[in-house]
Symmetry: C2
Subunit: 404 residues, 2 copies
């Protein structure tokens, strides 16, 4: 008689964004006349740039002709894309990462959920609190998180690193030594950025304690300040202790196109075993490559035209972030993030809980944001707004919130 | 100090198709003048049909315009595609499967590797021998397979179901009761097909013993005989004991485009827990949907033009299968498969091992096939040829083999 993986039963409620979607759908159905502005889920809204659609059309034409048709892609990604990534995202920033250390995938969500598979179930993870839910949930499913305590909303075997106004939303080094440390900078959800020497402190800590840092750099394109690193490999020694996850979703609008990559340096080892070999085996066995046409679209991100067009897109979203940040600050809200990040993190007014403020915004001004508590207990009393709407909607949403 | 998942270290050697790729690359580099014909990896060669490329171009145009741009897809797939699948692949064949029981993914390889995650690590799996390597390897990685015995080339905790010439490559019911039963029909690698009443026997067995059948129907488009089922849900009771995996790779040439789906009927339960809910949670947490443009291409598979064009493609590959089958049979080879399948399974001549015959074909007639032993110990002494080459190459390959 078969049995299920009962770790799944430990997961409380359903996934944050599904719950938001359901609430918005229900409100929308009962108020069909209202114009709802969504600054909740971190989903882009600008159309794909012309350089990207041109690359897609051209690749589709190739797939329609016998001489240029492509079947199964290489499991780890096409060389043309891995080379472009290594050259532009790493060598151009002085990071010595080679094309064969880059594993192309269908997105950072999958990679950040799957990466834990190559580690022992006995390893203990550390996460920021608040945190992107996938890191914890994927470890719960694997059986690494222990038991859930509904009162504290924490897992018994997870080390939480509080990110609070007091520490500028940058976690302190944990007191108990974890084996795997999930870090995301610029941070989702708080929008906080880490300085290079601060990140170096984490790398030094990982090297000293024998931990691996799983570094999610999905938002690096929004960095504006020079002392904020785009990659963890800008830090000395990171190649021996860090895996980096990247996405094309936020820098190139690929949320609906699906493309990302993970960097596993060859010198990152556990004894004699290279994690690079383990991740390659995982990809070879359980994955079949990202679509050729999407990989060509990814290559176009690094073309001259692509770079210019995408800089404009990012500037557009940055302008939104600045409007949200300054508009709400002027209105008396306590806000952070937004400078090196598309996310603005605000303290809920009048002692409201995060979900109370969610309902308040949805019902009174028809604006959708993300409750901070959905990212962990440390997010309670906070709220995330994203810069990915249209400028007009963003201005209208902020102006509506100011009427509250 | 972090530790790795040491189940990975138990995996012997590297993945079958990577090894073949390496051998062919090395031969090709040292013999650049030779024309190598590849009938090894089950990869299609005909270009995408015009209905598919038209749908892709149209969807790319939508993604390039603000009014029609699509960001994150629904985790479980767009309704337009789930509806088309339910109507055409199920209701049209009398199977009562609804759109919301269909989970769209980026391919059957991923699904067949990931599906084990929702089951207990204590469950025992049964597989055909020979078998598609992903079923076993993904369970090894999870820690469900026990230990590997290099002599017998088997795993201590896996139940093997021999598929031999004596049983017409259709396994007998296992003597020890498994929890999870992987079945693939039409079979990869043997090309064997199962009759409806034979499959009903498996469904009855699973219901009686409380097992779940993981039914891989990736090759159903190649079925030519009326008493061979296209779906396990053509059998009575299958909705309470079977999950079905499907692919767009072989029926529509999507090997490089990546699209598949898994059917988890709502009535399939372990106690009170629906596997549908578990798989939905897995998708929601660790997956982010197939690309919109690829899902539109999938929808076009079910359009009138798409169906007509794809029937031509399948007829083309079937003609190849028939040529391989009859050509090698005439030459004195013992062959099976090829009738309801794009795969022809042949006994190696002169007592050669599968890899000896691989090297013999590669070096003497520059034809690449797949060694049967790569699919498990029961494949030793057999060899797989695929119908996915061009007709001209297929004829030339068979004629070359006949000169041996």
């Amino acid at each position: 008689m078969f049995q299920i993986n009962d770790n799944y039963l430990k997961l409380p409620g359903s996934y944050l964004f599904s719950t938001i979607g359901k609430k918005v759908r229900e409100y929308s159905e009962s108020h069909p006349d209202r114009k709802i502005i969504r600054l909740g889920i971190g989903d882009v809204t600008l159309p794909l740039a012309p350089a990207i659609t041109a690359a897609l059309h051209s690749a589709v034409d190739e797939m329609g002709r016998a001489e240029t048709f492509r079947g199964y892609a290489p499991d780890l990604g096409y060389d043309f894309l891995r080379e472009a990534i290594a050259a532009n995202d790493y060598r151009a920033r002085g990071c010595d990462i080679t094309a064969d250390e880059i594993f192309v995938s269908d997105g950072a969500k999958c990679d950040s959920g799957n990466i834990q598979e190559i580690f022992s179930l006995d390893n203990r993870i550390a996460v920021c609190d608040p945190v992107y839910p996938v890191y914890v949930d994927s470890n719960v499913m694997a059986g690494r998180a222990g038991d859930y305590d509904p009162d504290s909303q924490t897992w018994s075997n997870v080390i939480y690193m509080p990110c609070t106004a007091e520490n500028d939303f940058l976690p302190d080094l944990p007191k108990e030594a974890p084996d795997l440390i999930y870090l995301c900078f610029p941070n989702n959800p708080t929008g906080a950025a880490i300085r290079r020497e601060q990140l170096q402190g984490w790398v030094d800590y990982a090297m000293k304690t024998g931990a691996v840092i799983l570094y999610d750099a999905a938002y690096e394109a929004y960095i504006t300040e020079p002392d904020v690193p785009h990659s963890i490999y800008e830090c000395q020694g990171a190649k021996s202790c860090a895996i980096e996850l990247r996405s094309f979703s936020k820098n190139a609008g690929f949320t609906g196109l699906r493309l990302g990559f993970t960097v596993v340096p060859k010198e990152l080892k556990c004894g004699d075993v290279s994690l690079h070999a383990l991740w390659a085996r995982r990809h070879g066995t359980k994955y079949n490559g990202a679509p050729y046409i999407v990989q060509r679209a990814g290559e176009a991100v690094y073309s001259r035209a692509g770079k210019a067009q995408l800089q404009e897109q990012i500037a557009y979203y940055r302008k939104n972030a600045a409007y949200i940040y300054s508009g709400l600050k002027e209105a008396g809200y306590t806000v952070s993030g937004g400078v090196n990040s598309p996310y603005v993190w605000l303290k809920t007014p009048k002692g409201m809980t995060s979900w109370e403020f969610f309902d308040c915004l949805l019902e009174n001004v028809n604006v959708v944001g993300t409750p901070g508590s959905g990212f962990g207990p440390g997010g309670e009393g906070y709220f995330r707004l994203t810069a990915f709407g249209s400028y007009e909607n963003t201005v209208e949403a902020v102006d509506r919130i100011r009427t509250l």
